[in-house]
């Protein structure tokens, strides 16, 4: 009798599991969208293509969808995630190796739902959790721009390197069930049109949060910590909300200048992955940048607590660091040349007052090199001369004596990681 009851329970449980699995399959299943002949360039109007180009610059598409030194939009760039390495795809209109056979419906579905033409779920390394906010007109403009680029024949050279079960694309539907909220963008009536336009651009095509918002263990952005700072390619993406560690508070004008030029005299230069973002933004209409600046400035707001500065007399004496700073850094950073030709006063740099040593260490070792074909801040790197000990002394001196902040922990880790990246 008892075994009978147990068996009945097991059978019922199996039914429930089966039904759940069936339900998940139904939920996750996406049908392929039939291929089309690549649309003729004449089928798009010039205004749409131009708007698409601006949106693509806002989205910094080219950075991920081009391999270093490779063809523009030809894909093949490795994107390292905590879950494994993903290689970006060719998004030129090549019919065989790109997306030439994608209809506008297929393109829009990829942007809105993260599903490719064949019906496979895409990894959220492609930030469709942001692109889902893009409206129909902008999506059509992006399609027009992409489909009128030079087709590049570039097959995948690497398969994605993800461990089981993450290599099963079907399961991404489960991730979406948990974390993905479909768009398009809904106007927030408590804010004006400029703010809404900025929010639409920053959170949609601009996908600022992809780097500037921290992620949870499953790689999803933590919505409650929007813009609270994150990681990008071995760099720290600063908090751009009320948690900002910038000594000088940001306002909309500052942000507008920074985004359009890549530097601001009281805040410093865009470095790391932000350098390429800013280089792209320089080709975006001012109205778009102003809207983004308005929105981000509103999110940053007035700081909850002013940045606490330690009294300078309490800073530790660090003769080695001070001497290295004076001999190596001061001629530019304490000079009289203004930005962008001289170095930023380091007390103003968020790399110095920020959360961790990552960016300061990265900049000292690698220097600043504007992305190819662009102008921007320059600085020689010191990886070949500074020993780890000298570097740590220098970082400690800059942090405490110029940033007037308590010492960082984990500086050695930042040094080790930066060195290993430089060796690659």
């Amino acid at each position: 009798m008892k075994t009978f009851v147990t068996r009945r329970l097991v059978v019922r449980l199996l039914w429930v599991l089966g039904a759940l699995l069936f339900g998940f399959v139904v939920y996750a299943w996406r049908s392929p969208i039939p291929p089309v002949d690549p649309p003729a360039a004449e089928s798009f109007d010039a205004a749409s293509i131009q708007r698409g180009a601006q949106l693509a610059a806002l989205g910094d598409c080219v950075t991920c969808h081009s391999a270093p030194g490779g063809e523009t939009f030809g894909g093949g760039r490795e994107v390292v995630t905590p879950f494994g390495t993903i290689y970006s795809t060719n998004i030129t209109p090549d019919p065989a190796t790109g997306i030439g056979r994608w209809s506008q419906a297929a393109f829009q579905r990829a942007m809105r739902e993260g599903v490719n033409r064949e019906g496979d779920h895409l990894y959220p390394a492609f930030p469709y959790d942001h692109y889902t906010l893009i409206n129909d007109a902008d999506s059509a403009a992006l399609y027009a721009f992409i489909m009128t680029r030079q087709p590049i024949q570039a097959r995948r050279t690497h398969e994605n390197d993800l461990s089981f079960p993450l290599n099963i694309r079907f399961l991404i539907a489960g991730w979406k069930l948990l974390f993905f909220r479909a768009g398009p963008y809904q106007q927030d009536s408590t804010h004006d049109a400029e703010w809404n336009r900025g929010a639409y651009l920053a959170n949609g095509i601009g996908h600022c949060g992809a780097c500037h918002t921290p992620r949870n263990n499953l790689g999803a952005e933590v919505a409650s910590r929007h813009f609270a700072g994150g990681e990008a390619d071995g760099w720290h993406a600063y908090a751009i909300n009320a948690d900002s560690k910038s000594l000088e508070e940001w306002n909309a004008e500052d942000l507008h200048m920074y985004l359009s030029k890549g530097w601001h005299d009281r805040h410093g230069d865009a470095h790391g992955p932000m350098a390429a973002v800013a280089a792209n933004l320089s080709s975006v209409p001012d109205a778009d940048l102003k809207a983004i600046a308005t929105y981000v400035a509103a999110v940053m707001g007035k700081r909850a607590l002013p940045l606490e500065k330690r009294a300078l007399e309490s800073t530790s004496s660090n003769d080695t660091g001070a001497a290295i700073y004076a001999a190596t850094c001061a001629s530019c950073h304490d000079g009289t040349r203004p930005l962008p030709f001289g170095g930023v006063k380091l007390m103003l740099s968020t790399a110095v007052t920020g959360e961790n040593a990552t960016n300061l260490v990265n900049v000292i070792l690698e220097g600043l090199h504007p992305p190819e074909g662009t102008t921007g801040a320059i600085m020689p790197g010191f990886s070949s001369t500074l020993t780890d000990g000298q570097l740590e002394s220098l970082v400690a001196y800059i942090r405490s004596n110029l940033g007037a902040q308590p010492p960082w922990t984990g500086v050695e880790n930042s040094v080790r990681e930066a060195r290993s990246r430089l060796r690659d």
């Binding site: 290295i324 190596t328 320059i378 600085m379 020689p380 010191f382 070949s384 020993t387």
Partner: protein, 194 residues
């Protein structure tokens, strides 16, 4: 006094510890290969090696260099017995005004010491920080390939001094096909008109 090891020799240097290495090399040690170009670490003409890594000596104070191995062009060979990098640059006649050449040689030396079989693309990418305003890039690239082939030749070593006949073709790479093209051009020009 700071002790510097330059080209295998020890020197006690009287300059202040915050003096850039370049000034010490040129003014105190009379090693004049490395050049002052921009003074901002942006042009590469002051490039020397520190423990084998290319280093911009104009922005490097000597206080950072105690106990490190510094190498300049003078350390690659002598006028009588030039090293492979020097000979390759002479044989390819890579210098025009010559100001960038010592920096180019040192950066190329750093690459070939680590990877004597560097590809054309790797050579180009590695030399990218060093500027040449005369436009002798193709000759510089050919010289680096030539140096690489001397270093990887039968008597392989970065300091190989086996003479290589000037006419020797170096591989069949993109850079060399440029070399061949140039040579064809010059042959054409030298041929008397009929």
């Amino acid at each position: 006094m700071i002790e510097l090891r330059v080209n295998g020799q020890s020197h006690n240097v009287s300059a202040d510890p915050d003096t850039p290495l370049l000034y010490v090399l040129r003014d105190e040690l009379q090693l004049n290969a490395a050049k002052f170009g921009c003074g901002l670490g942006q042009c590469g003409s002051c490039t020397v090696l520190v423990d084998g890594a290319p280093t911009l000596s104009c922005v490097t104070p000597i206080m950072l260099l105690e106990g490190r191995q510094i190498t300049t062009v003078e350390g690659l060979g002598t006028r009588e017995e030039p090293g492979p990098m020097q000979r390759a640059f002479i044989e390819e006649q890579s210098a025009q005004c010559g100001y960038c050449i010592p920096g180019m040689m040192m950066r190329a030396q750093a690459l070939l010491q680590r990877n004597p079989r560097a590809t054309d693309a790797e050579i180009r990418a590695y030399l990218e920080p060093n500027l040449c305003r005369c436009g002798t890039h193709m000759r510089i690239l050919r010289a680096v390939k030539r140096a690489a082939s001397m270093m990887t030749g039968p008597d392989a070593s970065p300091t190989t001094r086996t003479p290589v006949p000037a006419s020797t073709e170096v591989g069949t790479s993109e850079i060399d096909s440029d070399a061949q093209r140039d040579r064809r051009h010059s042959e054409k020009r030298e041929r008397p008109e009929r």
